[in-house]
Amino acid sequence: MVAAPKKNMIPEPARIERVVVETDDGLLKSFYLRLLDEEAHRAFRHVPGQFAMLSVPGKGECPIGIASAPSEDLILFTVFRTGLVTDALHRLPEGTVIGLRGPLGNGYPLEDFRGKNVVLIAGGFAVTTLRATLVYLLEHRDDYGEITMIYGARNPGLLLYKPELKAWQERKDLKLYLTVDREAPGWDGLVGFVPQITEQVAPSGENAVALVCGPPIMIKFTLPVLEKCGFTPEQVYLSLENRMRCGIGLCHHCNVGPFLVCKDGPVITLAELKKLPPEY
């Protein structure tokens, strides 16, 4: 028998320090968590792109991308209310203790991106782990080339992290393109779907990587645009989602062919993805 470190599925207690309702429809809330065990909280280290299992006793666990950067004190999760667990989470007030199991998965290979231009393309609430990435990149600004972010939502009310977006827009060392699907009162920014805006922005694939997170339809139409811009499949990073139970490569629910989203992913290059059955 292999004497390897034991893994279990026991969550660590974490307190909800702050809850922010992110969107006008109220379906997205940000939860800022602190692990109860101070030592564990300090030791919590993750890479942008990783996720954690959030756990509500009696309801279950669900995987949520970590939206905070490693440098930030509180661990941030922005959660869309859609199922049993997320619905229960949304009902919890600040101060409630929930369970957290993570960080899990691989995350973006940010070290490998050093010296390159980075293009972040996000649609809807899939922006969460790209927020973590962007914060990290800005903190290590000199290590990277041009940083471009294209972020779209259906309407202005559905954009996440609005105060931060504002601050980022003012930065000279970041090209941020915010867009909404349709004209909306009070919106004087870009209008159009993410793939269209990407086409207009036309980021160059030369010495660059693109990180794309969004609904399947957005991804489907964005990938050909990136190809036209000169991005090879090796330069395009995606983040997969699948139903999962364990998050540690055991239960096999999240498999895409031999690739386990929880353990081998969720981050995967387009080149790798093309080798897998389209089961995601």
Binding site: P57, G83, R243, G257
Partner: protein, 327 residues
């Protein structure tokens, strides 16, 4: 190390064991149960020994069912168990599962606390094809001890040092003749059976070609997409996690799941990457005979034949392997 146990001493040995350990034996064609004198040794049982390691119910946490409650981990069973009458294929199944679960705490606890005592089949079962999956039943994979019945006595191979504590005074070190007899038997088995060439072909087959092959629709037609084969399979290890609440208390349990179920891969949003029955059917066999095979060099199958024998719809694993290997 090889020992000999006279056949008539078996029950007294088992009785002695049952006083020191929790002893489980095959009690009927259905499966294993606590030893109470009854033994069913005619053939392998319908339910495998998988349930000793991935039980029908593995509690992980207990908690008060109220917001903010901090769950408490459930400590697993402490006592040592001995399972006697394990067929080599079933033990190999445990060894295959261990490749994935070696670091899983509940699995390891159960594995470390359980002795598996094997019993060689007198002859292959009617649908058995373990040899074709590369199983050498004499190799003792996953086993602590292996009993081979021969001329009124058991030739008992010891595979782990820890299993010495199971032996009593009735076990005598085997003489050379006994050792030779066992070696001959093993040799005869090797002569007669060899791993199927299908496996080598499957290793070479491109994954996407297998995935996109036209035969899945036809193969999957009779399949009911029930969980019978996965639950009976000694190597299927997928699990579900559920929170059970009664009144003010709850437990989080791990339980077997089946990739054949629609719910298995359905997202909370309703999207399901394997919505169609064919897709789920295909995934099961690609997992066993491609994904796992590529990762670990062996198929996730020990050839016990349970799925062939028990599939109510007459789905034939052999047909599937053969068809897949011809891609």
């Amino acid at each position: 190390m090889l020992y000999v146990l006279p056949q008539e001493k078996l029950s007294s040995w088992l009785k002695g064991l049952s006083e020191k350990y929790r002893l489980f034996v095959p009690v009927s064609a259905e499966g294993f149960g606590p030893y109470e004198g009854e033994l069913y040794l005619e053939a392998r049982t319908r339910l495998s020994v998988k349930e000793f390691f991935l039980p029908w119910r593995e509690p992980l946490l207990r908690f008060e069912a109220r917001p903010g409650a901090v769950p408490e981990p459930v400590a697993g069973p402490e006592e040592k168990r001995v399972v006697f009458g394990v067929r080599p294929c079933d033990a190999k199944g445990v060894a295959l599962i261990e490749k994935v679960f070696s670091e899983d705490e509940p699995f390891r606890r159960r594995r470390e606390g359980t002795f598996l005592v094997g019993l060689m089949c007198r002859e292959p079962g009617s649908q058995c094809f373990g040899w074709a999956m590369g199983l050498d039943p004499f190799a003792g994979e996953g086993l602590d001890l292996l009993f081979v019945e021969r001329e009124g006595r058991y030739l008992v191979s010891l595979f782990t040092a820890r299993a010495r504590e199971l032996l009593d005074e009735n076990f005598a070190p085997a003489d050379e003749e006994a050792a030779r007899a066992l070696e001959n038997e093993r040799e005869a088995f090797r002569q007669k059976y060899a791993a199927a060439p299908a496996l080598e072909k499957l290793k070479e087959a491109p994954l996407l070609a297998l995935y996109e092959a036209p035969f899945w629709e036809e193969l999957a037609l009779p399949c009911l997409n029930c969980g019978a084969c996965t639950f009976l399979c000694p190597t299927c290890y997928c699990f579900d996690v559920q929170d059970e609440v009664v009144g003010g208390e709850g437990v989080r349990v791990r339980l077997p799941d089946a990739c054949m179920f629609e719910l298995y891969s359905r997202h909370a949003s309703g999207h399901n990457p394997r919505r169609s029955p064919v897709a789920r059917f295909r995934n099961r066999f690609l997992h066993k005979f491609k994904y796992f095979l590529d990762l670990y060099g062996e198929p996730l199958c020990v050839g016990c034949g349970r799925c062939i024998e028990e599939c109510p719809a007459g789905v034939n694993l052999w047909d599937i392997i053969r068809t897949m290997s011809e891609v």
